[in-house]
């Protein structure tokens, strides 16, 4: 059976060119980048090239890029490090209600240390309430963190406007761009952010490769103390191969993204329109237009997410869901709940995120095999029977 991978938000396959760029650093070029001998110098040169490549992708300066091990680490470092650096000025932090857990849980940790954390609500599309942000800023506010795009519903947040609001108060604004990078244009100057998280496994780079952009002149307290790596911002021997891979992936994204996104968007549009046309009681989650080009998310009413996910897996298709059953914590997606969806609907969420190779034929196949699955699961669903009964009355 042909495998069709539609779970970009979980991980992307590695580009073969990225892989090739990494191989020498897993083999002969093993030197510690901090060593003064030639082994070390080969490695540090490779690191600095990667730093330039990443900087170019987001229109930053190389010295503003700090390599980390994951998007979660970048987010932890940003929220905890930026807030702690400003502790003397205040203790109020604003984060959006639909942030990734690595932001929300970092904020929670700060709350235990005496910070006050406030969540910015979102509308039914997952867009943040800019007016709420504006009126909630106080003299005590030290950090605002709003994601650039949401991985569960694909909505792209109005970061430029948020940055304008923050700039008036000279505030630090961090954005989690992990889901967005490589799929839409990201320019830190245009966005006007102070810090930005990104991860390589979201744009055909290796896992364990990520970075945090910090605008020059911004103070941050490191998460990992130790040596002088990453200008003292992040200690620990650098994962050279992963960083080289991240650099290559960034270079490829810079030159190929416009073409990539255009192609994947055309295929995605077929799905975004096709699924609700083909199956009754399917609602699109997230914003209809302001959304990532490879992203299509739905709620398929009366059917639970994991049961759909497993059925699709058996048909060779990989997807994600925000249902409680698919999460180990057995809690429904906080994103969908924040958007005002009721629990039954949130349990029926399904997220398709396409990769470069996804073709029209893949979507045709999906639209062909999926409706019978839903029909079968709905026949089994007490919620669907209830609905039919009420309809008859």
């Amino acid at each position: 059976m042909k495998k069709r991978y539609m779970d970009h938000i979980a991980a992307t396959p590695m580009d073969p060119r990225v892989f090739e760029s990494m191989v020498p650093f897993l083999k002969e070029h093993f030197g510690n980048p901090q060593s003064l001998h030639s082994w070390g110098q080969e490695s540090i040169e490779a690191l600095e090239t990667a730093r330039q490549q990443v900087a170019q992708l987001i229109n930053a300066q190389p010295e503003e890029i700090f390599f980390t091990s994951s998007g979660s680490e970048s987010n932890n470092m940003a929220v905890k490090g930026l807030a702690e650096a400003k502790r003397k000025q205040g203790n109020h932090i604003l984060v959006s209600a639909v942030e990734h857990q690595s932001i929300l849980h970092s904020a929670k940790k700060l709350e235990k240390m005496g910070f006050e954390v406030e969540q910015i609500p979102v509308d039914e599309y997952g867009l943040i309430d800019l007016a709420y942000l504006k009126k909630s800023l106080t003299d005590k506010t030290v950090l605002v963190s709003i994601m650039l795009a949401n991985s569960e519903v694909g909505t792209i947040e109005p970061i430029e406007q948020a940055a304008e609001i923050c700039r008036e108060k000279d505030l630090v604004l961090h954005t989690d761009a992990v889901a967005a990078l490589g799929s839409i244009e990201v320019d830190v100057e245009k966005l006007g952010v102070t810090a930005l998280s990104l991860a390589g496994d979201q744009f055909y780079g290796p896992k364990g490769s990520a970075a945090l952009y910090i605008k020059k002149g911004t103070r941050i307290v490191p998460l990992i103390d130790g040596g002088i790596q990453e200008s003292g911002r992040r200690a620990g021997t650098e994962n050279t191969a992963a960083i080289v891979g991240l650099g290559k992936a960034a270079e490829l994204a810079k030159s190929e993204m416009p073409e990539r996104s255009k192609k994947v968007k055309a295929v995605r549009d077929l799905l975004l329109k096709g699924l609700p046309d083909k199956i009754e009681h399917v609602v699109v989650t997230g914003h209809p237009e302001k959304r990532l080009p490879h992203h299509a998310s739905f709620c398929v009413e009366f059917v639970e997410g994991e049961s759909m996910l497993l059925n699709l897996d058996m048909l060779g298709i990989a997807v994600s869901s925000g249902s409680a059953c698919t999460s180990k914590a057995l809690k429904a997606s906080h994103v969908l709940i924040a958007m005002g969806l009721d629990h039954a609907l949130a349990q029926s969420s399904l997220v398709f995120s396409l990769i470069e190779e996804t073709s029209k034929e893949d979507i045709d196949y999906l639209l062909d095999v999926f409706p019978p699955v839903i029909e079968r699961l709905r026949k089994m669903s007490p919620l669907y029977s209830q609905y039919l009964e009420e309809k008859q009355k």
């Binding site: 639970e304 994991e306 049961s307 497993l310 429904a332 629990h343 026949k379």
Partner: protein, 189 residues
């Protein structure tokens, strides 16, 4: 795959799915907050379960559990069927992932409720409305039942400090040896 072959078989080919219009007893458990809902219908003849049907909204485990319970119940006397435990169901299925054990609880509960419903009808008791718990996002402290907000790291009522269970990610007392939700025991290295 996170599930055993037997679970996947029952998930793909669930037995006894459907609605019974003239059921002798109906039992409904669960709600969309926890993610699973089950309805069991039974037909009783000579004090035995003569026919059984179910409907389930839920994950792979929930569907497989319902199917297995229906198979185990068919042909049993009511007393025998009342004795089917959640552990029996999980065992018959070749085991379930730890964080899915609550699904197996629902299966046997729904069957037992259907039997109780039948018995209540028989003794002429007034049929109660099925008690579906109030839908809320609130989780409660496993130690004092006090309310706990989603992101809180301690219970305001009994002051217990939480960490996440290493198996099921539910809030548990810091440094505790056993999870009250999924029963996982901590392995000290």
């Amino acid at each position: 795959m996170i599930y055993s072959d037997k679970v996947m078989d029952h998930f793909q080919n669930p037995r006894n799915v459907g609605v019974m219009k003239d059921a002798d007893g109906v039992g409904q458990v669960g709600n969309p907050v926890c993610g699973d809902m089950m309805t069991f219908y039974i037909k009783v003849k000579d004090n035995r379960i003569d026919d059984v049907k179910f409907q389930t909204f839920g994950c792979g485990a929930a569907i497989a559990v319902s199917s297995m319970v229906s198979e185990m119940a068919l042909g049993k006397t009511l007393d025998e069927a009342m004795k089917i435990t959640n552990d029996d169901v999980a065992e018959e299925l070749g085991g379930l992932p730890k964080n899915k054990h609550h699904c197996s609880n629902l299966g046997a509960d729904a069957l037992h409720k259907a039997i109780e419903d039948y018995r209540e009808k028989l003794t002429g008791k007034v049929k109660k409305e099925p008690d579906i718990p109030e839908v809320s996002d609130q989780i409660s402290c496993p130690y004092c039942e006090g309310p706990v907000e989603g992101m809180e790291a301690y219970c305001k009522k009994c002051q217990v400090e939480f960490e996440e269970c290493w198996e099921c990610s539910q809030p548990i007392k810091k440094d505790t040896e056993e999870c009250p939700h999924c029963g996982a025991t901590r392995v000290r290295v």
